[in-house]
Point group: C2
DNA sequence: TCTCACACTTAAACTAGATTAAGAAATGGA
DNA sequence: TCCATTTCTTAATCTAGTTTAAGTGTGAGA
């Protein structure tokens, strides 16, 4: 739990009492590569903090193809916020791309902390605002019409992940085929010479 | 102000006292077609309720082309929530597509109402959740790779607006050229025969 | 009433990116 | 360690959507 608190305390220091309360509501999990913490059609009941590993959030289109919306790694929180807040069925999946160590909290427990610990409240206000901004940026990023530009802004947004993620996952995020991503990369290395 | 209250009271009835308080914080405006209620680079200071007329929210790419993210008409609330909540510069513009009658509230006044009137708080929780879901659906909609499918889901989402908006605005929302939208429409009318 | 700026359509030439296929490289599980 | 599966790359062919250009409304302001 230290990592979570360290993260938290970069913004707001916590008393021991607060830490005990938070600890009592949060549960630790190890989960395997390729397993899901959220499946479409289900309500998103858990908010997940990532201690180690990496997740992708994706939707599936009518033809059965999946499309990555977002990645999340160490230090990030991830959930389908819409589904979590309204407790309605989600249209999204959240899958571990690597073996992961995570902390999770369910909706009633989080709401209890939000009401009773002002620091947690402030912290989560920031987290959900960031989340909103991120998804809005996702929409804005899609404006850059060429795939090469989108790839470049992906590299800026996820510099630590670009070498860690399989190309297929990146292509799915960019909305192109892995073959075409390969072509783009080739083009870029040529330009660099 | 009646229209706003009527809207509101479909969800929660208000006392006269509450109405007076709300009225004291909200200001009425008439604004002309093509004028902006939010300009990129500025902080989004006002939350806008639309009594009549219609707005588009759009971003501008590096090449100077604008891309519609969202439309809003009678009964809708519109703002760049990210910018409004964090009071940081917005990357978006909100422009009247028709002459409009609107009510607006600024951030401190809204926050005051949220803290002092639980009904307003509940109401805005729903409004901002819907807003989040809407922008997330926008991302999901973009999955349907063909422009025709995206056009069809646009028609479902904005049935009342499809005949009211200029084709150019719809094309900008769909991420295609007006020429190609024209082609799609032609194709669809043929299919219908 | 005229006109000027916009909106809509059509069509021909062009391009970004998809699809298919096939071989090479890397990775993980037993 | 070896096999199986997944991942990456290249290249040829194909298509959805762009670009350019030209012609046709249409409504608001002078």
């Amino acid at each position: 739990m230290q990592v979570l608190f360290k993260d938290f305390e970069e913004i707001l220091p916590l008393t021991d009492h607060e830490k005990v309360l938070i600890e009592s509501k949060i549960s630790f999990q190890k989960i395997k590569r390729k397993s899901l913490v959220l499946k479409e059609g289900k309500v998103c009941k858990l908010y997940t903090y990532i201690q180690s590993g990496c997740f992708r959030m994706y939707g599936i289109d009518d033809k059965g193809f999946s499309h990555n919306i977002q990645f999340a790694a160490e230090g990030d929180w991830i959930a389908d916020i819409g589904s979590f807040y309204t407790q309605t069925a989600s249209k999204l999946n959240i899958e571990a791309i690597e073996d992961c160590e995570i902390y999770q909290i369910n909706q009633p427990d989080l709401y209890w902390l939000l009401e009773n610990l002002p620091k947690v409240n402030r912290m989560f206000k920031v987290i959900s605002e960031n989340n909103f901004v991120e998804i809005q940026n996702r929409v804005l990023q899609n404006f850059s019409s060429t795939a090469e530009q989108r790839y470049l802004s992906f590299l800026e947004q996820y510099p630590h992940l670009s070498s860690r993620l399989p190309n297929t996952q990146i292509a799915s995020y960019l909305g192109i085929t892995p073959e075409f991503l390969s072509k783009i990369r080739k083009g870029l290395t040529k330009k660099r010479l």
